[in-house]
């Protein structure tokens, strides 16, 4: 029996601009990831609880809530506080504001650089998770 193919890493993508969300979803899927999309804080928290992503890639500003509130929710999570979080923003955020995030990318972004950072964060997270749980990510 052939060995089971490990599931693709899962990314939770939070972006309120529907066009950009659809494109980023295409971009990540075509780069070898599974992606769950959300358009605001409420849907993002629900998706985080349900989907258990390997990485959260989130816009900082959206109409209801913010990426920073999502980051705080994740860091306070009893079981998955170490999930890597990468913030995206059109502005240079103050260092204090993004403390606790694993990565930050300023929009409009260099796509290659974004994908490289995403791959590195997921690899690091999977390695840590693998050591802790002795399971493949």
């Amino acid at each position: 029996m052939p060995p089971a193919t490990p599931p693709l890493p899962l990314i939770l993508l939070v972006e309120d601009n529907p066009d950009l969300r659809a494109l980023a979803l295409d971009l990540l899927e075509m780069s070898g990831y599974q992606v769950v999309g959300a358009d605001g804080l409420g849907t993002a928290i629900a998706a985080f609880e349900q989907a258990q992503p390997d990485l959260v890639l989130t816009d900082v500003k959206f109409p209801a809530g913010s990426g920073l509130a999502l980051l705080a929710h994740i860091r306070a999570h009893p079981a998955r506080s170490s999930t890597p979080v990468m913030l995206m923003s059109g502005e240079r955020e103050q260092a204090g504001a993004i403390m606790g995030a694993d990565g930050f990318v300023q929009k409009p972004f260099d796509v290659e650089a974004l994908l490289t950072s995403v791959a590195e964060l997921i690899a690091r997270h999977c390695a840590t998770a693998s050591i802790e749980a002795k399971t493949a990510c």
């Binding site: 601009n17 529907p18 066009d19 950009l20 659809a22 494109l23 980023a24 295409d26 971009l27 075509m30 500003k61 059109g90 502005e91 929009k107 409009p108 972004f109 260099d110 796509v111 290659e112």
Partner: protein
């Protein structure tokens, strides 16, 4: 004799040298710089502007990357979606730039009062809105008494009214009629625009005139969420008010209440 001002053609509004805006006790606080004669941008406006614009630029970057990297592996339909995303982002940025020019004019452009033939002016504006809008087959019924005039800045009146007519064309269901009518109330002119569109949810009403705010029903119809904020700035400059209420049955009703003679 009334001067016939035709609304300017769609596109960029010319910016003239800033002039002191008249004090307006009823101006909404968000558009007023206390202690100054100049109206100003609301707090956080530039930050929201950057957020919106950069989002569209990021869409262009993502689309062009996808086309370059994966354009040959995917179906023609998907490829078209990515090209369309670039085109759409460009149109949105262009619209934002156009609206910013209008906002600049509404906030601080030179005011040139003159007598305006309202029937001709508003019919021209309605026709432009109908032609510029999507093919939604919404009819615009302009009910203005022939020969009725108003004295004030025609450019500001155009900015204030154009957005209401454009929204009526965009959001009205096909086959419905949007109505623009005028009425005199003492020293004031009331311009009322009613449409049969989906209207606003109650929790959205308080944010209606906020820059870049779009109601849930409006998001799928394009636009950038600046039109009503700019209309309000223009109305404030004219010394009037703009109000919203749900229309009877279904739809929206906007009322502009302007001093009948505005020579400031």
């Amino acid at each position: 004799m009334a001067t016939h001002y035709r609304p300017s053609s769609p596109g960029l509004t010319m910016i003239e040298a800033p002039a002191s805006a008249a004090r307006n006790p009823r101006a909404a606080p968000k558009m007023t710089d206390e202690g100054s004669d100049r109206l100003s941008l609301p707090a956080g406006f530039l930050s929201k502007l950057a957020h919106e614009t950069v989002g569209h630029l990021a869409a262009v970057q993502a689309s062009s990357y996808l086309l370059r990297k994966h354009g040959r592996e995917i179906s023609g339909a998907r490829e078209q979606e990515w090209w369309s995303a670039i085109q759409k982002a460009g149109s949105r940025v262009q619209l934002i730039m156009d609206r910013l020019c209008r906002l600049e004019h509404a906030l601080s452009g030179a005011v040139q009062p003159a007598e305006v033939d309202l029937a001709l002016f508003l019919r021209d504006l309605a026709e432009q809105a109908r032609l510029a809008g999507p093919a939604t087959e919404v009819a615009l019924d302009v009910r203005v008494r022939a020969g009725e005039t108003w004295t004030g800045d025609a450019g500001l009146l155009e900015i204030a009214t154009e957005c209401l007519l454009s929204n009526a064309c965009k959001f009205g269901p096909p086959g419905t009629v949007a109505v623009l009518e005028t009425r005199r109330e003492g020293d004031f002119l009331e311009i009322r625009v009613t449409d049969a569109g989906p209207g606003l949810a109650p929790d959205e009403v308080a944010r209606l005139f906020e820059p870049f705010f779009q109601g849930r029903n409006a998001k799928k119809n394009g636009g950038c969420g600046l039109g009503l904020a700019i209309a309000r700035a223009a109305v404030n400059r004219l010394g009037g008010t703009i109000t919203y209420q749900p229309a009877r049955g279904q739809g929206t009703e906007f009322r502009l209440c302007l001093p009948a003679v505005n020579r400031r």
